[in-house]
Structures are given as structure tokens and as C-alpha cells.
């Protein structure tokens, strides 16, 4: 087993909130994180998936030494984040989505150079790396543009370069594609994957509320809601846990008297439903084993029914999230906005 890049043990964080004018002396408490225990191995791309306010950013702040935990312990690269921040900081970097770090009067290169110096990088080599990385993210022609003149997407690419530039052992990306268009998001995802594949000792913790991003990128995902980790595993295992049945949708020509019950009576077929359509029918199957599909197709062809299309329905992380949390991320965020 690889050594752990990140570990938390019963980690919790409570914020004290001041009351309004009438309740000035009343202190309320909000548990942003409760009893979080995760273990992330070196070389992993680990995702934290949850709606706004779930506790993702609080967890990142603790792991990046910006916030003290109220309970429990956290370790990054083997060092305690609270007691040994001087050992943690040279090994990490962080990029947040929508951040406006740096100085608008400085050019892209100057901003990145400034941050490289805070990590003790030699100027000449840092400048060469900045040029190379900017080319890689398609910002090569904006190197001398003032950062205040960059669009949100281009600025975020600059921030991402800032994160990779210092070659951290553990990189924290907090909603890195927030506000980016489809193409820019894809570029960022490619960069992330390439960076990790280049050296198996690198670890990346990514928070996102984009299911597709988590599913496409992450080796493992923790679903987090209201400060608690509800599930933690690889996307494929999480999806398999959701339902044991294998789902198929078969579009056919008219059914020639074949009933759903007749298909359900076939071995290893859990459920079957038929929907009549204008030009044929739609057969939905839940199979115990994938091998049960053969007898179903035989039954259809025996009745001279033509199969027009056959699709295997894959569960998505969104389905997993809905099952665990009780609603989708979009609904959770709409709810929090309405409040």
C-alpha cells in the first residue's frame, strides 16, 4: 500500500456565529465538519463531492493549514497540519475556483513569478516553467497581458498554472472549473490528469459539485453533505452499490402479442416493463445477471420482433448522490438560495 498523502481522524470544525443586533451576546454554533475520517494514498486523485455549504472548503482549509480543527486530527504528507504547518506548507499548493488572487496591475508572467518566489524557486527556471505551463493551457499569447485584462476563464487558467508551477506533493483544487466554459474545463481536466500521470507520488484533492467532473477524473470520491462523509469509494463501486440489478432498454418493432409477464418469467429477469410507442415498443429490463439478456433476445426474435436499439443503463454518481442525500446537488443549492 502507498503511504498516505492525506489522513483525517474524527475531524470536526465548529464555527461560532455572532447573533444579530437583538441577540448580540448570543453565540450560535455551526458544525461545518463532523467526525470526518478519510485516508488518501499517494498518487490518488481524490474527489470531494457535495453541494455548497457541505463542508468541502472547510476541509480543504484545515488541510492547507488555514484553519484549525475543533476536534480530531489531520495529516498531510505525514505531518500534522496544526502542529507542523512548517513541514506541510512546502509540500502543498491550492487553487480555488473563481479566486482573484495576484495583482491586476501585474502581467500574467509577473504574477506567477511573484508566487514562484514565495516557494524559493530560482527565477530563471521559474520563468521558463511559467512560459511552458502557460503554453500548455493555451495562455502562451497572454503572458504579457495584465491579469486585470483577462476574462474569468483565462484568469482561472493562470491560477491553475500557479498551483502546478511549484510542483507540490499534494495539490488542493477547490472547484477549479467553477465558471469555466466547456472547452476551458476540458483543458483543465486534461492538465490535472497529465500532471498526476507524470509522477505517481503526486496526490490531488479536488472538490467539485460537478458530477461528471468527479466521475471522469477521480480515482475515489467522498460524498459529503452537512459536514459528514456519507460514502467514500471509487465512482464505479459507489454506482454498483446503488443497485444490484443490471438495467437495459430495448427499442423494438411492434410486439406481436408478447407480454411483459412472459419476459419476466424468463430466468434471471428481475423485472420487465413494456411501453407501446408509435413505431414499436420500449422494453425496460432489470436483470440479475447480464447473461440473462441472451434468452430475452431469443424470445423477441422467436416472435419475429426486430430489435432497433439496445442500451445498457449506467448509474451515474448523481444517482448515488440522490440516494445518499435524498435530493440532487442542484436541488440542494436551489434550496439554500431560497433560504
Amino acid at each position: 500500500m502507498s503511504p498516505l498523502a492525506i489522513e483525517t481522524r474524527k475531524l470536526g470544525r465548529i464555527y461560532k456565529i455572532r447573533g444579530n443586533k437583538k441577540e448580540k451576546n448570543v453565540r450560535k454554533e455551526l458544525a461545518a465538519l463532523s467526525d470526518v475520517g478519510i485516508q488518501i494514498e499517494q498518487g490518488e486523485l481524490f474527489g470531494l463531492l457535495g453541494p455548497n455549504g457541505a463542508g468541502k472548503t472547510t476541509l480543504i482549509k484545515i488541510l492547507t493549514t488555514l484553519l484549525a480543527p475543533s476536534t480530531g486530527e489531520a495529516f498531510v504528507a505525514g505531518y500534522n497540519v496544526l502542529n507542523e504547518p512548517q513541514h506541510v506548507r512546502p509540500r502543498i499548493n491550492m487553487v480555488s475556483g473563481g479566486e482573484s488572487s495576484g495583482y491586476g496591475l501585474l502581467t500574467v508572467r509577473e504574477n506567477l513569478w511573484m508566487f514562484s518566489q514565495f516557494y524559493g524557486m530560482p527565477s530563471r527556471e521559474a520563468n521558463q516553467r511559467i512560459v511552458d505551463l502557460l503554453k500548455l493551457v493555451g495562455l502562451g499569447d497572454r503572458i504579457n497581458t495584465k491579469s486585470s485584462d483577462l476574462s474569468t476563464g483565462l484568469r482561472q487558467k493562470m491560477n491553475i498554472v500557479r498551483g502546478f508551477m511549484t510542483d507540490p506533493e499534494v495539490l488542493f483544487l477547490d472547484e477549479p472549473t467553477l465558471g469555466l466554459d466547456v472547452g476551458a474545463s476540458r483543458d483543465v481536466r486534461h492538465l490535472i490528469r497529465g500532471w498526476l500521470d507524470d509522477d505517481k507520488k503526486r496526490t490531488l484533492l479536488l472538490t467539485t459539485h460537478y458530477m461528471v467532473e468527479a466521475e471522469e477524473l477521480c480515482d475515489r470520491v467522498a460524498i459529503i453533505n452537512q459536514g459528514r462523509v456519507l460514502a467514500c469509494d471509487s465512482p464505479s463501486v459507489l454506482k454498483r452499490r446503488l443497485q444490484e440489478d443490471i438495467l437495459f432498454e430495448i427499442k423494438t418493432s411492434p410486439l406481436n402479442g408478447l407480454s411483459a409477464q412472459a419476459i419476466e418469467d424468463l430466468p434471471e429477469v428481475h423485472t420487465a416493463s413494456l411501453t407501446e410507442m408509435e413505431d414499436g415498443a420500449l422494453l425496460k429490463l432489470a436483470l440479475v445477471e447480464e447473461s440473462a439478456l441472451g434468452p430475452v433476445i431469443n424470445a423477441l426474435t422467436d416472435k419475429n420482433i426486430t430489435i432497433m436499439s439496445l442500451n445498457k443503463h449506467e448509474h451515474s454518481l448523481e444517482d448515488v448522490f440522490v440516494q445518499l442525500v435524498g435530493h440532487s446537488i442542484a436541488e440542494a443549492e436551489k434550496g439554500s438560495q431560497d433560504e
Partner: protein
């Protein structure tokens, strides 16, 4: 990925680079953080109006009053020097003090904290950049004032002048660094303190007249602001009537300035450490008060 450019080799990009630590990292951080202040001045020219023309108006007002009442001609020089030093005071009060607060609002502070540098190096960089940028403004005011009002300088000792100036700046920006930590803890409430401090300190620090005009204890109390003694000592060293109008001897003023340097720099370090610990504990480092 993006197809508009020749792609560099990925392995060359990510090859680990040697990184310096210790005092070299400290120095690199100071220079890097000073850079935006210096370069920003070259790119945003509005300071010429706000930081030279407007202070010159205040200087002119005093000059015309002194000439109307036929005050000794050196008083004109006192006002010009006061105008130049005002630039440093305003820089410390409004720019240096609030800088960490703005860094927090912009998202830079979190990045400064998680980097392996020392926050003291960041603060020193801010101070150095601010001081150098403001020095240009101060020189411009002295130059313009000297030309417009025929100021005559009689420098008794360049070396002492340099020492007094450097000590004044060190103590003043040390005070600014302390105030920066305080601002971060108090957030917007600290603005009221600055407003409260600005005008009374203009008066008691003797920016436009010798503080000897005050009763001793008022002038002594005002000496906690490093520019009070620094300005008084500089006037003693560059004007013929300076020593006669000085508050206390230059030697004593240099000694007090030395003490102020130590007090403010050590205070800044202690307050910064305290602020960082408190802010991490209470979650105030990267977000506004809940």
C-alpha cells in the same frame, strides 16, 4: 490540449526544481512582494496628481501663511520637508496598514500563508515596496517645493541625515507592519482608528512647523510617531536655524528612534504571530467575520 501553440514536453515542465529555504527564501519573498508596489507605480500614474499635486497645495498654504506673517525663511523649508514626509505617513496609515486586510479580501492572504515563506517577509516586502515607491513622491515634493519657494538647505552632516532618515523609515514602517496585523484583526472597524489618527497626528507631529512650539510633554507624547522625531532631527541637520528650533538634540532623537525601531519591529513580529494563530483558530484568516 490547446492547439494554437507548440506543446512543450510535459516531463520538462514538471521536472522538480531546486528550491531555496532559510534566509534566501526570506529575501526572495521580500523582493517579490515589493515588486507589485514598485511596478504598479510605473503603470498607474494617477499618484502624480494625488500624491504630489495635492500635498503641494497644503505645503503652499503654509508657505503663504509664513510669508504673510514674515516668519523666518527656514519655516518655508520646514513646510516643504513636512509635505514630503506626509507622503510616507499617508502611505503607512492608508496603504500599509490596510494592506493585509485587502490581501484577505482578494484571496492573496491565504496563498501567502500556505506558502513556505514567513509572513514577516511578506510584510517587509510590502513595507519596502511602499517605502521605495513613496520615496519617489517625497523627492518630487522636495524638488518642486525647493524650485517654487526657493528653499535653501544647509546640510551639516550627510551621514547623520542618512542615519536619521533610515531610522525614521524603519521605525515608521515597523509601526505600519504592526498596524497591518491590527487591521486584519479588527477588519473595517480599524478604518475609524485611522480616521481618528490622521488629523491629530498631523497637528502634534509638527509636519508643517517645529514641535518645539508645543509644551514639552505634548511633543514628547507625539514622539511615539517616528516621523515626529525623525522630521525634527532632519530639520536640525538641513536648515541653518534648525538646531535652534529643534525639540531635543539630534543625538537623543537618534537614540529614541533606535528604540522605536526595535519596539515596532519586534511588536510587528509578535502581533503578526498572534494574529496568525488567532485567525487560524477562529477561522478569520480567509473569510469575513461570521
Amino acid at each position: 490540449m490547446s492547439s494554437d501553440v507548440t506543446q512543450p514536453q510535459v516531463d520538462s515542465i514538471y521536472k522538480p526544481l531546486p528550491k531555496v529555504t532559510g534566509w534566501r527564501l526570506f529575501l526572495k519573498t521580500v523582493i517579490a512582494r515589493a515588486y507589485p508596489r514598485l511596478i504598479g507605480q510605473q503603470r498607474e500614474k494617477s499618484w502624480m496628481f494625488f500624491d504630489i499635486f495635492l500635498p503641494m497645495l497644503a505645503v503652499s498654504a503654509y508657505v503663504f501663511v509664513y510669508r504673510a506673517i514674515q516668519a523666518p525663511e527656514d519655516y518655508v523649508g520646514f513646510a516643504v520637508m513636512g509635505g514630503a514626509m506626509t507622503a510616507f505617513w499617508l502611505n503607512v496609515l492608508w496603504s500599509m496598514s490596510s494592506q493585509l486586510y485587502w490581501e484577505k479580501e482578494q484571496g492573496n492572504l491565504a496563498l501567502y500563508i500556505i506558502a513556505p515563506n514567513q509572513m514577516m517577509a511578506i510584510l517587509l516586502g510590502m513595507a519596502l515596496g511602499g517605502m521605495l515607491a513613496t520615496a519617489l513622491r517625497a523627492v518630487a515634493i522636495i524638488f518642486l517645493g525647493t524650485i517654487l519657494f526657493n528653499v535653501t538647505f544647509v546640510v551639516s552632516s550627510f551621514l547623520q541625515l542618512l542615519v536619521v532618515f533610515m531610522l525614521s523609515m524603519t521605525a515608521l514602517y515597523g509601526m505600519g507592519m504592526m498596524m497591518a496585523s491590527l487591521f486584519l484583526l479588527l477588519s473595517r472597524e480599524a478604518w475609524h482608528l485611522s480616521n481618528l489618527a490622521q488629523e491629530p497626528i498631523y497637528l502634534v507631529s509638527g509636519f508643517y512647523f517645529p514641535i518645539k512650539s508645543f509644551p514639552f510633554w505634548i511633543a514628547a507624547g507625539a514622539s511615539i510617531i517616528p516621523l515626529t522625531l525623525g522630521l525634527d532631527a532632519m530639520r536640525q541637520l538641513i536648515f541653518a536655524s534648525g538646531p535652534a528650533l529643534g525639540f531635543v538634540s539630534v543625538k537623543l532623537e537618534v537614540s529614541v528612534l533606535l528604540v522605536l525601531c526595535v519596539v515596532f519591529l519586534v511588536g510587528a513580529k509578535l502581533l503578526l504571530d498572534y494574529m496568525e494563530k488567532l485567525a487560524i483558530r477562529e477561522g478569520r484568516l480567509t473569510e469575513s467575520r461570521r
